[in-house]
């Protein structure tokens, strides 16, 4: 071992490795989301019936298409870890940036906890099928988080290559399930004519279903967290994000189509693992096994992507001193934000040990929704400060400002839907972020070195 510590004066500044390509970006985005196709989306059916679920699938699909377009344009310009946090810092201001950073960390850490809980529950279900009851799920929850954190600690390439493989397999299982129900022959396997009913709770049920409609796509915006580790971010981020969005629209639609053609809405609306149930109804043990494994893969891929994204967001907050600068360190060998990865492990496990899956997920969804609301104002201001032609964009989204206005409108509708079902949670989460903002303004912002946080070689914004 060297007698003296290696210092910055003897080496170049440390940086994360640029080793990712558009497929990794696709795997990061779709990997986080795809578990929502295997479970959770079906609560839209419980809120408003099968048709309400389809409307939510496409309306929320429109919301996320706006998110993906806006994110792709801004990220192709702000190619730095932290994603929307970094965008907010450069375009809106420090308080917004702090809040967005916190939304990201909370959303992904909670989602990771929920995914680990799902893996534990799947292990318990598997044990019960094999005749062993009362399996303790905790060791498998901890193992999921520990293994994925270890992988994230040791390098982003292996982490997201694993995500690419298991996400592709999980998506392929949905396609196999779709083909196995003979989709072109109504009445043979699928029974849509008998099972599809009118809206059981009217249009208010459709509005209420919007909240759970987010399960179809929640997390696709996480692609931009990899901006600092991807080769040619201006090309790869838009390609991976938009490709991921198209994959999810297809996956969501075929998921709805298969499940609603096999199960009545009253059952489907409260099922825990609807796609596994669909395979069970088809009477094929191979399909059952495939869907069981695919559900586990989807949950693991989601947790893996969440650890990746939450750690990058926390790292960026640390690097800019919005949080203790200790967390802004990069591992000299693996080139990962290793302290941030490690710090979030006990937090994710603590959330998972509460066992409150629905509350954890609601907090995650609302944090995500707050982030999407920010994007609308961010986009409008971005185009005003740096109009087209003043700064190079890897992707320019069409019809501005229609996507931003559409996004804001749909976010408002989803807030209302959340208020209908989880009003107390909505208000308590709002209160949490308001208190955090007060803490930041009064106690934390004085540590931020204001000039140091703007290192992008951008031209001066218009009007400044």
């Amino acid at each position: 071992m060297a007698s003296e510590k290696i210092t910055s004066s003897s080496s170049k500044p440390i940086a994360m490795l640029k080793v990712l390509n558009p497929f990794h970006i696709w795997a990061l985005g779709v990997g986080i989301v795809l578990v929502g196709e295997f479970m959770g989306w079906n609560f839209t059916v419980g809120k408003g019936g099968a048709y309400a679920s389809l409307i939510a699938c496409w309306v929320i699909g429109l919301l996320y298409t706006c998110v993906a377009m806006i994110d792709s344009e801004v990220t192709s310009t702000v190619a730095a870890a932290g994603g929307q946090y970094t965008q907010a810092k450069h375009i809106i201001g420090p308080l917004m940036a702090f809040n967005v950073g916190l939304y990201l960390v909370m959303a992904y850490t909670m989602l990771c906890a929920a995914d680990a809980l799902v893996v534990g529950d799947l292990m318990k279900s598997g044990a019960e099928v094999m005749g062993y009851t009362n399996l303790d799920t905790k060791p498998f929850v901890v193992l999921t988080v520990a293994f994925l954190a270890w992988l994230n600690y040791r390098g982003v390439f292996a982490t997201l290559t694993l995500n690419l493989v298991i996400t592709f397999l999980a998506f392929a299982s949905l396609i196999v399930l779709f083909l196995s129900v003979d989709p072109l022959s109504q009445g043979v396997v699928l029974q849509h004519q008998a099972l599809l009913t009118d809206l059981p709770y009217g249009w208010i049920g459709v509005v209420a279903s919007l909240q759970f409609g987010m399960w179809y796509y929640l997390g696709i915006e996480g692609t931009c967290q990899a901006a600092e580790e991807v080769r040619s971010a201006g090309r790869s981020i838009p390609l991976g994000t938009m490709g991921g969005m198209m994959t999810l629209l297809v996956a969501a639609t075929i998921t709805w189509f298969v499940a609603t053609g096999l199960m009545p809405w009253q059952y489907l609306g409260q099922a825990v693992t609807p796609m596994y149930d669909a395979a069970t109804l088809l009477g094929s043990s191979q399909l059952q096994l495939m869907l069981f494994v695919a559900t586990a893969f989807a949950a693991i891929a989601s947790a893996n992507g969440c650890i990746n994204d939450a750690s990058r967001a926390w790292f960026s907050l640390g690097r800019d001193r919005y949080m203790p600068v200790f967390f802004g360190a990069i591992h000299p060998k693996y080139r990962t934000p290793y302290r941030s990865v490690l710090f979030l492990v006990p937090i994710a496990i603590s959330f998972a040990f509460t066992g409150l899956l629905d509350q954890v997920i609601t907090f995650s969804i609302l944090s995500g929704l707050l982030g999407y609301t920010f994007m609308t104002f961010n986009m409008i201001k971005f185009r005003k400060m740096w109009p087209l032609g003043t700064i190079h964009r890897g992707y320019i989204h069409p019809f501005h400002p229609i996507p931003a206005i559409t996004l804001l409108t749909l976010c408002c509708a989803t807030y209302f839907a959340t208020f209908l079902g989880y009003g107390a949670s909505l208000l308590s989460i709002m209160a949490f972020y308001i208190l955090a903002s007060i803490w930041f303004v009064l106690r934390r912002y004085k540590y931020v070195k204001r000039a140091d946080q703007f290192t992008m070689p951008w031209p001066r914004p218009k009007g400044y």
């Binding site: 690097r319 700064i391 890897g394 290192t455």
Partner: protein, 60 residues
């Protein structure tokens, strides 16, 4: 001891090994490298992407 009991102990053990490995490695890195170096990264640093190009000025 049943298979599932062994699996539970194995899961706890592997989790503990991986968590301890990460903590030990993090301490070793802190002891070998200067903090200033570990925290010397800059956003957008060494970037080969397009965001640094100023169209207005026609230069990087």
């Amino acid at each position: 001891m049943k298979f599932w009991d062994i699996l539970v102990y194995t899961a706890w053990s592997i989790s503990a090994v991986m968590l301890v490995w990460m903590v030990v490695d993090a301490f070793m890195i802190s002891s070998q490298y200067d903090e200033e170096y570990l925290m010397s990264s800059r956003e957008g640093g060494e970037d080969d992407v397009v965001h640094g190009i100023h169209l207005e000025e026609g230069k990087e």
